[in-house]
């Protein structure tokens, strides 16, 4: 499976999980809050920060212009700031003009919302920009995902991460269906990510253990502010904790090789057993089964070698409850 490159980071294979802190609209149009959110994302250890820059009048029939979004200039400043703080960035947009604008601002990838999975002309337009695409697939059947991928790949763009996601805000545990990630990976041979809309930090952490290569999660300064997606947004401390746990999981997955660890080889002796004498065995006696027992520590002869002990004669007197060693036989 090919890896997808975003900025200077790689996604897929054994690469670290690419973690996106989604600010969404939780800034409520306040530039200072948005700036603070960028800082929080950087401090929490995210790889990228994203904003939703959806112009309502371009999205919905009969809608008036959005009031809670940032201006284009403010967004540009936020991108600049994110870059200064070492974060990659993009904005979630839904029309061609916006795509052009954010491409001009140097975004390193696009995020497509689930609602635009069937917006094939838009997908083609994005694909042709040549940037990696994170494609959300919420509320879709396999055929819709297949068609969307076909359009993107036919436009010459193979740098796709397929997002498993759920559109219920918030998603109950039974509906998370993490196993869909396996299906998407097997069917399309592309890296799979998880865009989480549950409450709390557990599902993304589990998703990473299950093979998700990208995690996206909403965050907010304070759920009490009741921003747009506040129910499914993490507060700064929780975001940091989620990322910390994801990095831990990556370390815990470790190696598939089944062998004792270096420091285990010493301690394991005390957990294993040795062949010991159950009764006193006078010198010259031929040793039989019933004269023996198995006790810790395992510093003597190990139980599998019983056959080399039974039938031999004791060279010396062996006391009761003594670990048998080869020189005694």
């Amino acid at each position: 499976m090919r890896k997808v490159r975003i900025g200077n980071k790689f996604i897929g294979g054994g690469e670290p999980t690419f973690i996106i802190a989604e600010a969404g609209l939780n800034h409520d149009g306040d530039f200072e809050i948005a700036k603070r959110m960028v800082e929080i994302a950087a401090d929490a250890g995210a790889d990228a920060v994203t904003f939703q820059h959806i112009l309502a009048d371009r999205l919905n029939v009969g809608a008036k212009a959005s009031t809670n979004i940032l201006t284009d200039t403010e967004l540009e400043h936020l991108f600049h700031y994110a870059n200064e703080l070492g974060l990659l960035y993009t904005a979630c947009v839904i029309d061609n003009e916006s795509i052009d604008k954010i491409t001009g601002c140097g975004v390193s990838f696009f995020k497509i919302v689930s609602g635009d999975l069937t917006n094939l002309p838009f997908l083609e337009y994005c694909a042709k920009k040549g940037l990696p695409i994170l494609l959300s697939t919420g509320a879709a059947g396999i055929s819709e995902v297949e068609t969307a991928l076909d359009v993107i790949q036919s436009a010459g763009n193979q740098d796709i991460v397929v997002y498993h996601t759920n559109s219920g805000y918030p998603t109950p545990p039974e509906d998370v269906n993490l196993r869909v990630m396996d299906t998407l990976q097997q069917a399309f041979q592309l890296p799979v990510g998880f865009c989480d809309h549950t409450v709390g930090i557990l599902p993304p952490i589990v998703a990473v253990a299950r093979g998700a290569k990208v995690i996206e999660k909403h965050f907010t300064l304070d759920r009490g502010l009741k921003g747009t997606d506040y129910e499914v947004s993490l507060e700064p401390g929780e975001l940091k904790e989620m990322i910390r746990n994801i990095r831990l999981v990556e370390r815990m997955l470790g190696s598939p090789v089944k062998k004792p660890l270096e420091y285990e080889t010493n301690t394991v002796k005390f957990a294993r057993r040795s062949i010991v004498s159950r009764i006193r065995i006078p010198r010259g006696t031929i040793i039989t089964d019933d004269m023996l027992a198995f006790k810790r520590p395992g510093t003597g002869v190990a139980p599998p070698l019983m056959n080399l002990v039974v039938g031999r004669s004791a060279k010396v007197d062996i006391n009761e409850d003594e670990i048998i060693t080869w020189d005694m036989l």
Binding site: E146, Q189, V257, K258
Partner: protein
């Protein structure tokens, strides 16, 4: 793992080894013919077995005399290495003692093979590992524990270039006992390239093993199965070996990339094999089309059956002949 200039591992072409073994019957000229035949058949390498009977057999063994006649001398091995080099086919051999290891190492073999019987010959494994070259380790008759111990012995000299061969040491082996799925287990447990050393009759099993991602196939071959020798009957003739190589290469291609969509050649047939909505009877202009007026027939260059609901209930803009495919512009 790399043998010569060929990389062995997942995603790489299968490394096919023509095992001449002892099918030369002690005749170095026959051995040379075998090398030529291996090259012609398209094998990636030719392999022999290097031994001195008195070194690995007890004099009392019933096989002692036979193996003595099958011995080749040091100068013979040099000749064979040279012939292989001229023909441009990698040459290596099963080693059985320190002498054979040194001999072959001096001749510049790109790898060493260890026979299944020597899986537990830890001193030999350590000696071979010390040469720092790739090792192909057969695991016939072995348990996971024995393989683990063998690998530990090899790794103790910092040589990690090992490939395992799943093998069933029966001569010949029955397909029923092959347990090809053990290839997956070996790969999973030991995280090494895994191949198959096959002793069944014919090439069905090695070709089938390709479906499990087997990266090395080792198969006995001979110039003529009617020659004398204990391994002749489970060896392939040059023509059979050539066919096996072709089948293995075909299988590699047949596995594909797993993405389910029509192939190029299918796209043409798709048009013919699918169905169109077709008029069952003549439909005069102006008629409202009902279900019983249409049927579904090949070829599929009209409207797909799943759009029937968009056709039924519409009016025919022009007269539609019986058997004519209904297209959007006539309704």
């Amino acid at each position: 793992m790399k043998i010569g200039n060929k990389i062995i591992g997942e995603g790489k072409p299968c490394f096919i080894v023509a095992e001449a073994g002892i099918n030369h019957n002690g005749d170095v000229n026959l051995a040379k013919e075998l090398i030529k035949a291996a090259k012609d058949a398209g094998a990636d390498a030719v392999k022999f077995q290097t031994f001195k009977a008195k070194s690995f057999l007890s004099k009392k063994s019933p096989q002692f005399e036979l193996f003595q006649t099958l011995e080749l001398g040091e100068n013979h091995w040099a000749e064979l290495a040279s012939v292989a080099s001229e023909l441009g086919i990698p040459f290596f051999s099963t080693v059985t003692d320190e002498e054979s290891v040194d001999l072959l190492d001096k001749l510049g073999v790109p790898a060493f093979k260890i026979a299944s019987g020597d899986l537990t010959h830890l001193p030999l494994l350590r000696y071979v590992a010390g040469k720092g070259k790739p090792i192909i380790l057969s695991t016939g008759m072995g348990t996971l524990g024995e393989i683990e111990e063998a690998l530990n012995a090899i790794y103790s000299s910092a040589n990690k270039q090992v490939a395992l061969l799943h093998c069933v040491s029966a001569y010949p082996a029955n397909p029923e006992e092959m347990n090809l799925r053990a290839i997956n287990t070996l790969r999973e447990v030991f995280q090494l390239p895994v191949g198959l050393s096959d002793h069944t009759i014919g090439s069905t099993i090695p070709v089938a093993a390709m479906a499990l991602g087997t990266v090395i196939i080792e198969k006995h071959f001979t110039l003529d199965k009617n020659l004398a020798g204990p391994d002749q009957k489970l060896s392939l003739s040059p023509a059979e070996f050539k066919q096996m190589v072709a089948n293995i290469r075909a299988m590699e291609k047949a596995l594909g990339n797993g993405i389910k969509k029509p192939t190029e050649s299918e796209l043409e047939i798709r048009k013919i094999a699918r169905r169109s909505i077709v008029a069952r009877i003549r439909i005069p202009r102006g008629t409202i089309i009902t279900e019983d007026m249409v049927r579904f027939a090949r070829p599929g260059n009209g409207i797909e059956p799943r759009f029937a609901e968009l056709v039924v209930g519409r009016r025919a803009k022009v007269g539609i002949e019986e058997g004519q495919a209904i297209l959007w512009d006539v309704i």
